[in-house]
């Protein structure tokens, strides 16, 4: 792993970002988590167990698909897809929950909690909760519960308790705050499975490590198929867990251009987007120092995106660092453009992508046109869009009903 990685593991910071800015009641739990994880990741049995579940439960390695028809339609670079949508539960989130539930088990915890936006992390947590027979509670904003009802039902079917959060904007930010409060109360028997590369140290490192399987596999698969590396790698960024996982496979390959795509919402006005890199400034949210969308007084401005999973006013601290160092370029794509890309991928490739991923597709489309036919773009298809079909149908006013 690169220089950034060594720094983060030593200090809990990525450049100036990261750290541990959590309420004092959580401090010891974070220290325990850090020390357990540090030991486990060198432990052969743990690695073997993780590998077992990756292969036999998640279904890894996920395929690398050449998107022949998209390549033709977009008329430029070749398009390749890393198929995290084909994982068990339908998204990359399970890579992290499997890893974290094994840590929770090692710490002797009997209860797991999570926050969720689009519900994919909630489903992945409910899944490992059932699999490892742990009491599971998932916090989800009321607005997201409306948008992603199907996922709430899936969680409940697997035995999880889904708690609606009505405070604030009733979205991911508020679900995260509520999960932190639950953890503060029940820290003795509960592990909080943070779902993105956010939160106080060591969460951003742990989530990145478990998600880096995406990038490491992709690099091998691409190299094997093409005898070279892709020219460009693209992933969508909310908190940024699929992106950090994908980028980590290529971070040392300086010739590979990395792009993170955030949600541009419906305008650049505060409250109508989730484009943290473009509009955020350094601040402190949910236990970490990172870029945050905030007003002149340091109050957090509500985020917006058509995709519940990108609807977050902060970003993982390691992404903030990559943005500052320039290693990764960040762009944003608006709601309508993402919806268009969503339908385009459905029709052209026969794949219903998550609305989150649709942002990455749209950015790829524009970039592909500027690139040569012998160049390659690899997109992280972070999850499938079954959860989004009702919302898309609603937004496109009955076109599909």
């Amino acid at each position: 792993m690169g220089k950034e990685s060594n720094y983060s593991e030593k200090k809990g910071y990525f450049g100036e970002f990261g750290g541990r800015y959590a309420p004092e009641i959580l401090h010891d739990a974070l220290v325990e988590l850090e020390s357990t994880y540090t030991k486990l990741k060198k432990n052969k049995q743990f690695k073997k167990e993780l590998e077992y579940y990756r292969k036999n439960y998640i279904g890894r390695p996920s395929p690398l698909t050449y998107a022949e028809r998209l390549t033709k339609a977009w008329g430029g670079a070749r398009i390749w897809l890393k198929r995290e949508d084909l994982n068990h539960t339908g998204a990359h989130k399970i890579n992290n929950t499997i890893g974290q539930v094994l840590i929770a088990k090692a710490m002797g915890k009997t209860r797991i909690i999570a926050e969720t936006g689009a519900g994919q992390h909630g489903v992945a947590t409910a899944t490992v909760g059932a699999m490892f027979q742990m009491k599971t509670v998932v916090y989800m904003g009321d607005e997201d519960l409306r948008r992603q009802e199907l996922n709430a039902i899936r969680m409940r079917m697997m035995g999880a308790t889904v708690v609606g959060v009505s405070s604030g904007t009733a979205t991911l930010k508020d679900a995260t705050s509520e999960a932190m409060r639950d953890w503060a109360l029940n820290v003795a028997d509960t592990h909080y499975i943070v779902g993105s590369s956010i939160g106080p140290h060591p969460f951003p490192t742990i989530v990145r490590d478990f998600q880096s399987v995406i990038g490491i596999e992709s690099r091998k698969q691409f190299q094997k198929t093409n005898g070279k590396l892709p020219n460009v790698v693209i992933a969508c960024v909310g908190g940024g867990s699929n992106a950090i996982g994908m980028f980590y496979g290529f971070i040392k390959d300086k010739k590979v251009k990395l792009y993170g795509v955030e949600a541009g919402g419906y305008s650049s006005e505060p409250g109508s987007h989730s484009a943290t890199m473009a509009f955020g400034r350094t601040g402190f949210l949910h236990g970490t120092k990172t870029l945050v969308i905030q007003d002149e007084f340091g109050q957090i401005v509500p985020a917006h995106s058509v995709s519940a999973g990108l609807d977050y006013p902060g970003v993982g601290p390691e992404h903030a660092h990559f943005h500052k160092s320039g290693r990764v370029k960040y762009a944003n794509v608006g709601d309508e453009a993402a919806l268009d890309a969503f339908l385009e991928v459905c029709r052209i490739e026969g794949i219903i992508p998550a609305l989150e991923t649709a942002h990455a597709f749209r950015f790829a489309k524009d970039l592909a046109k500027e690139m040569g036919k012998k160049e390659d773009i690899l997109i992280c298809l972070s999850g499938r869009g079954d959860k989004d079909v009702a919302e898309v149908a609603r937004l496109r006013k009955g076109e599909f009903t």
Binding site: P23, E24, I25, S167, G168, R181, G283, G298, Q299
Partner: protein
């Protein structure tokens, strides 16, 4: 001796009530503060509203939401603080706030204006002492003789309490139970021993807060704690009566008097 230290100079345990500034409006908060001080507050804690108060329970979350329904202004916060200070210059005022609004303003600027408004101490639940920013902030506060008050919880190790000593002044805010702010029926076991241990380690007064609401609880805790902090129970009175200023002030005064008279 700082104003906060002198508040602990008698044999009495200090009553420290809390209010969220701006709930339901800024002007009313002067009335609430006045009632609580007249009722027996020895130090007053003032909450600066924040959109994402992760260490607070539903009562204070709702108070912040009501406060933030008006356009938020740090200038207004500081003006109201100065007004309370002008009315009761003998009562130390302490801010309880999250770090982002202070960082956003600039630590040096904030410390300077807070001092001029009469603030004598700061409590920041999401700024642990072992961060680069806490160290920097401590220097800014020390210059202006503002106390940096740290939280210790039932989960905090003795080693960590010891290390906190170099950056802690004023008093220690001892969190009586796991979780966030709000009323609870039972207090954690071994509270008295923990408080004595913290006092010995840090050599500062130790005040207990989180989950204290009744006269009986305040009476018991005051026998061994240097102060008793009550937030949510007071904020609840404001939530229920805040729109009737006179009635609310009366209820706050009665509640504060009841608590104060039960305490050592």
């Amino acid at each position: 001796m700082s104003a906060i230290s002198s508040a602990f100079s008698s044999e009495k345990s200090v009553f420290i009530p809390y209010i969220s500034l701006g709930d339901p409006n800024y002007e009313s908060c002067v009335t609430w503060a006045d009632a609580l001080i007249k009722g027996g507050a020895g130090i007053l804690e003032l909450g600066i509203p924040f959109t994402d108060p992760v260490a607070d329970g539903p009562v204070i979350q709702k108070a912040f939401k009501r406060a933030l329904a008006h356009p938020f202004s740090m200038k207004k916060i500081l003006e109201i603080t100065a007004e309370i200070h002008r009315l009761h210059p003998e009562i130390p005022l302490v801010y309880l706030t999250y770090f982002n609004p202070l960082y956003s303003m600039g630590l040096d600027t904030f410390a300077e204006i807070a001092k001029n408004s009469g603030i004598q101490g700061l409590i920041i639940p999401d700024l642990p002492y072992d961060t680069p920013e806490a160290e920097e902030f401590f220097t800014q506060l020390e210059k202006r003789k503002i106390d940096f008050i740290h939280l210790v919880t039932p989960a905090t190790t003795e080693e960590r309490i010891q290390s906190m000593k170099s950056l802690a002044t004023g008093f220690i805010y001892y969190v009586t139970s796991y979780g966030v702010t709000g009323e609870r029926r039972a207090l954690s076991e071994g509270l008295e021993d923990r408080i004595k241990m913290v006092r010995k380690k840090v050599a500062l007064p130790v005040c207990a807060g989180f989950g204290i609401s009744t006269v009986d609880q305040a009476k018991e805790i005051s026998t061994y704690a240097d102060g008793v902090i009550i937030g949510s129970a007071i904020q609840k009175i404001i939530e229920e009566n805040g729109n009737n200023s006179e009635l609310c002030a009366k209820k706050l005064f009665e509640y504060a008097s009841g608590i104060r008279s039960s305490m050592r």
